[in-house]
């Protein structure tokens, strides 16, 4: 095989393997950490590496959204929930044998599915420079509001309805029902 040392490709490759290695190590920490807070931080690292992959693929917008939603939103919420519910000294108990077996089974099943899916699929794009999308944010925005063929306006609206429902649901759950008849009956 002919290996040409193009500096741009070289940095690309180095970046890819660094990200891949980091995300695998961090993912292992997520499942093996005994302290749940450390697992949450490792999860943040995995998600950041995911954003790195998007950047390598030139999908800056998706990377930014990944960071904004997952790291800035979800991980912080997880961390917040852990802070409210447990303390630094609490260490996760090792799972029972049944749960271990169940976990092993489901992860192996997922691995098998992923391997089969990846080996069956033919990926038409194999080189980096084949296609470089220019303005992803604009393209994504147009697709989301496009009601013609190939547009995603229906799923977009359905998701926004779902979000609205969950927001209202959260308010209903969080509301203090005692407040309603405060002052009248005590």
């Amino acid at each position: 095989m002919d290996i040409t040392l193009n500096p741009a490709d070289l940095t690309h490759t180095i970046a890819f393997y660094t990200l891949a290695l980091t995300s695998i190590v961090a993912a292992l920490i997520v499942v093996t950490a005994k302290r749940i807070f450390r697992a949450a931080v490792a999860l943040a690292v995995v998600l950041i590496c995911g954003a790195g992959f998007y950047i390598l693929l030139n999908y800056d917008f998706i990377a930014g959204v990944q960071l904004l939603v997952y790291v800035g939103g979800i991980v912080i919420l997880i961390v917040f929930a852990v802070m409210l519910t447990s303390s630094l000294e609490s260490i996760e108990e090792p799972p029972s044998l049944g749960r271990k077996a169940l976990g092993l089974f489901s992860s192996l099943a997922f691995l098998a599915t992923a391997v089969i899916a990846f080996s069956e699929t033919k990926f038409p794009l194999s080189s980096i420079s084949a296609e470089q999308p220019k303005d992803v944010a604009k393209a994504v925005g147009r697709k989301l509001l496009d009601y013609g063929a190939g547009g995603y306006v229906l799923p977009f609206e359905v998701i926004s309805l779902l979000l609205l429902a969950s927001v209202i649901g959260a308010i209903v759950v969080a509301r203090n029902p005692k407040r309603k008849n405060e002052g009248s009956a005590t």
Partner: protein, 372 residues
């Protein structure tokens, strides 16, 4: 070099070519890898140096401003008018003993300040200071800045948790709640400018203000967005009157109670540089960044304004907003937690949403000033 300072002087409409350091690196990478490495090194050294020098300068300015607001002189002993006070403090901080609490979560305790300072650095590299003075110009600049600012709060949460101290934990939880709430308002006001400019790229947002800055081209809507941004980002910076996460009268030091020496200085530095980033962002989005003061159509006036180099415009605007934020700090008392939450959820958030609708209407009907 002259070109670097003055941009291009064109009598009518100055057109600015934005060349960032990362552009130069990519260009050089194909021909001369060593030049590219040199550019990358220059960028790293520049950002690092800028970070520490600016931090020290801002701390000095803050102390002087505070002193004069309280009819004192502030630092006067070290150097001329106390100019070297920050240097002395920095040396003191570096020489202090680095204490790690016995029952802290060591790993997290050590990486928490690093998280904070990395977030700050990542935000800093995107700021367009002049057409030729910007490290990276991502086409999702606005999204990227709000994304990395959440790393900083992750650092604060880690610090509070890993210290294994009730005060730290309380401070960190307040920081988290405050950040999650006020982030929405910041994003809403960022979206207003994104709508106006039609771009997420910071350099393009600056270029779009060639006929006038958004704060007055978008008249009421621009003004409201500017104030919402200023209030919400002051809250995100954990600065007084929103400094509940460290509230020294209740929580001793809040999330950084257990930190000392170099690690404490990381948090301290990150906080001050974040203030610079917020001010620079406000200047870029609403006051035109490095764009000189232009009025659409008045060519002679615009030409005269172009005589002042873009870098100076940026510095002046940013300094003004930094002064505003400091002014607020020494004027208002600290809010209570419930007041803080009420301000965001019952006042700023509805205002932000209505403002976003108004902005969309404005853009569709082209009712802003100079719609060409």
């Amino acid at each position: 070099m002259l070109d670097f300072l003055f941009g291009q002087l064109v009598a009518t409409h100055a057109t600015f070519d934005v060349v960032t350091l990362s552009d130069r690196t990519t260009q050089a990478l194909a021909e001369d890898p060593w030049l590219a490495a040199g550019y990358a090194l220059l960028g790293l050294a520049g950002v690092g140096g800028f970070l520490s020098l600016l931090g020290m300068a801002l701390i000095y300015v803050e102390r002087k401003v505070a002193a004069h607001f309280q009819c004192r002189l502030g630092p006067m002993r070290v150097g001329w008018h106390g100019m070297l006070q920050s240097v002395a403090d920095a040396i003191k901080l570096l020489l202090k003993e680095d204490i790690i609490p016995d029952r802290a979560d060591r790993v997290l305790f050590l990486i928490a300040p690093v998280f904070s300072i990395i977030a700050t650095t990542l935000g800093l590299i995107l700021i367009p200071m002049s057409p030729s003075l910007q490290v990276v110009d991502l086409n999702i600049g606005v999204i990227f800045i709000s994304a990395v600012s959440s790393f900083g709060v992750l650092g604060i949460l880690l610090a509070g948790w890993s210290s294994n101290n009730k005060w730290s934990l309380l401070g960190a939880m307040r920081a988290g709640a405050q950040f999650i709430s006020y982030e929405i308002s910041v994003t809403l006001s960022l979206l207003v400018v994104t709508l106006f400019a039609g771009s997420l790229q910071l350099s393009e947002i600056v270029q779009s203000q060639q006929d006038g800055w958004w704060i007055w081209r978008g008249h009421i809507v621009g003004l409201v967005a500017f104030f919402v941004f200023l209030i919400a980002s002051t809250a995100e910076l954990n600065r007084p009157p929103f400094d509940l996460p460290e509230a020294e009268s209740e929580l001793t030091g809040g999330f950084h109670t257990e930190y000392s020496g170099l690690r404490f200085s990381f948090f301290f530095l990150a906080e001050f540089i974040n203030m610079f980033i917020a001010s620079a962002l406000a200047a870029t989005l609403f006051l035109g960044g490095w764009m000189p003061f232009h009025i659409g159509g008045l060519h002679t006036f615009n030409g005269l304004m172009d005589l002042i180099p873009p870098g100076l415009w940026f510095a002046g605007k940013t300094t003004f907003i930094i002064f505003l934020i400091m002014w607020v700090r020494w004027t208002f008392p600290r809010l209570r937690v419930d007041q803080l939450m009420r301000l965001e959820w019952k006042f700023l958030l509805p205002v932000g949403f209505i403002n976003l609708f108004a902005a969309a209407t404005l853009v569709i009907t082209k009712l802003y000033f100079f719609p060409w």
